[in-house]
């Protein structure tokens, strides 16, 4: 039993694998987009969004793990908290790295800072607020770190770089940070929130995360149309639409597998069926 309940959620894919997938996939995506930004007019900036999707899947799994201890209405809050920590850490990391002339290390510094913030909030939640959830410290660290990769990844998809002055000008002052914040946050929190219930399954939730991450990717592509150029934006949007379709069909296949019945129409189950 995973949701509305009170215990460790059953996970077919171990969390450690998802952590590795999120961090390695996320960083590869961000750095690939950065180093390939001069190739073919920057069309490879979609790699940043792929990194963000890796982080989304990881983050959604972490939300699922901590929220299955009966958080209920706290699921949306934890997603917003993730991106709140993520914005602070990402901007701090990128700005400090650029300040020290080490711009290339920006995402790594942001990741470390996010982990520290997440860990502190996790300790605070368990020790001071006495929530006593065994995986709280680790999960908050993971959620903050995945939120940070998500933000940097989507910023890279929009601008093609994670250099702080470019991000500041093209993402923050234009207000696109708002859409990164909310579309990213919803991509983290919605999968578990939408599948909440005793018969929730990890793979269905993660397919939902892929689908929601792809929506954030599509929006980042639309922004890239104006921040970079039409070809960059279109590549990101098209790959995003493909991933969305793949995610949605994967999700729907698992809905059909997991649901009591998927019917075209019908009455309520009869008394005998309910017995």
């Amino acid at each position: 039993m995973s949701a509305g309940g009170s215990g460790e959620a059953h996970a077919a894919i171990p969390q450690n694998q998802l952590i590795a997938f999120g961090i390695i996939g996320g960083l590869i995506g961000i750095y690939a987009a950065f180093f390939l930004s001069n190739v073919a007019g920057g069309v490879f900036s979609f790699m940043g969004a792929l990194g963000a999707i890796c982080a989304t899947i990881w983050g959604a799994a972490a939300v699922r793990r901590v929220a299955s201890y009966g958080l209920g209405t706290g699921v949306p809050s934890i997603g917003m908290l993730a991106l709140g920590m993520g914005v602070v850490a990402a901007m701090f990391g990128l700005a400090v790295a650029e300040g020290f002339g080490l711009a290339i290390a920006g995402p790594l510094i942001a990741l470390v800072v996010a982990s520290i913030i997440g860990l502190l909030i996790g300790i605070f939640a368990n020790k001071v607020l006495r929530m006593n959830i065994p995986v709280m410290e680790q999960s908050m660290t993971e959620i903050a770190a995945s939120g940070t990769i998500l933000i940097i990844g989507l910023s890279v998809a929009m601008t093609g770089t994670f250099l702080f002055d470019v991000v500041l000008e093209d993402v923050i002052t234009t207000g696109y940070i708002a859409v990164i914040f909310i579309a990213g946050g919803m991509a983290l929190l919605h999968p578990f929130n939408a599948n909440l219930g005793p018969d929730e399954k990890q793979d269905r939730t993660l397919y939902n995360a892929l689908e929601k991450g792809a929506i954030a990717m599509i929006i980042a592509g639309i922004v890239a149309l104006s921040v970079q150029n039409a070809s960059v934006g279109m590549v990101t949007v098209l790959i995003g639409i493909f991933l969305w379709y793949y995610g949605f069909t994967g999700f729907y296949a698992r809905v059909k597998r997991d649901a009591f019945k998927v019917v075209g129409t019908g009455l309520l189950p009869s008394e005998e069926e309910l017995e």
Binding site: P76, G175, M186, P191, N195, L196, L225, A259
Partner: protein, 301 residues
């Protein structure tokens, strides 16, 4: 800026906000989002499977912030390409409504299939008949919120960019829809087989009304019910919030000097004071008219 133009723009903002509030509330009611959702979620567990749309997209503020921000972002990108304003806001709202539709669909499917052991089915006709109106309402909400944000940027020269203003107004309309609108759905429509005024006993939790006057109750019926009072009242609440909060700084423009700034603060405080007194009077008169409950009287005697 000419005060008359300011007042005209403000009136337009207030009108757009009124529509936004009403459509926001009706949109959330179709999906039984927010407060009523907990009972819809609980019902199958208490062996009351249902045909109500379980649209669990977080709370109303984040979900409305999402669609308004996406609409604002797409519109802003199009405005950068010098597309006409009406077209940009329309396409932005369209994209937002489509994204909102996918969120609603996955929430309904996901929540219902996670209740397998309680025999809750996934009804595809519920999905087909309810998702388009949800998207329609979300289109109206996003469009009107974008109108409010766009007027703020262009007429009132607000320093924030369009996506950020849309984000803030999205959260605001969601918060007001949640606080004002939910009161007029929730227990009122979900527990109509319970005697009026009896409150919600714990034993009745999850025992929602699943059958309508004819056939099975659907969430469209809940929206119809809310359109009579809950939706409009949410619209008026949000419209007043937008209009009155803008009115004090339009009439007493702080940019003209500190004196006018203080006058706007005093005007705001006066409005709040008048509302507190009015609400208090209304509450007292309602208590005199309808309460206390019969049981309370007997106990007192």
């Amino acid at each position: 800026m000419d005060p008359l133009i300011g007042m005209g723009a403000l009136a337009l903002m207030g009108a757009a906000a009124t529509i936004a509030g009403a459509s926001e509330d009706l949109e959330s009611d179709i999906g039984s989002q927010s407060n009523p959702n907990s009972q819809v979620q609980l019902a199958p567990q208490m062996s009351y499977p249902h045909r109500i749309y379980n649209k669990a997209i977080s709370g109303e503020p984040p979900s409305n912030a999402l669609m308004c921000t996406i609409g604002g972002t797409v519109a802003y990108v199009m405005l950068n390409f010098n597309v006409s304003v009406v077209l940009a806001l329309t396409i932005g709202s369209l994209v937002a409504a489509m994204v909102h539709g996918t969120y609603a669909t996955t929430a309904y499917m996901g929540r219902c299939s996670s209740q397998k052991r309680f025999k809750q089915m996934v009804y595809l006709d519920v999905l087909r008949s309810h998702t388009p109106p949800i998207m329609g309402y979300s289109f109206i909400t996003t469009f009107t919120i974008l109108v409010v944000s766009y007027i703020m940027v262009t007429v009132f020269a607000h320093p924030f960019p369009l996506p950020l203003l849309a984000f803030i107004w999205g959260i605001t309309v969601g918060a007001i829809g949640s606080s004002t609108g939910d009161v007029h759905y929730g227990a009122e429509r979900e527990f109509q087989d319970v005697e009026f005024g009896s409150g919600l006993n714990t034993a009745n939790s999850g025992k929602i009304v699943r059958k309508a006057e004819s056939g099975l109750r659907s969430s469209m019926d809940n929206s119809w019910f809310c359109a009579k009072f809950g939706g409009p009242v949410t619209g008026i609440a949000f419209g007043m919030t937008v209009f009155l909060s803008g009115w004090i700084t339009t009439v007493f423009d702080p940019s003209k000097g500190p004196a006018a700034g203080w006058e706007s603060v005093i005007a705001g405080a006066l409005i709040i004071l008048v509302m507190i007194i009015y609400n208090r009077k209304m509450e007292v008169s309602a208590r005199k008219e309808f309460g206390p409950y019969k049981e309370d009287k007997e106990e007192a005697a």
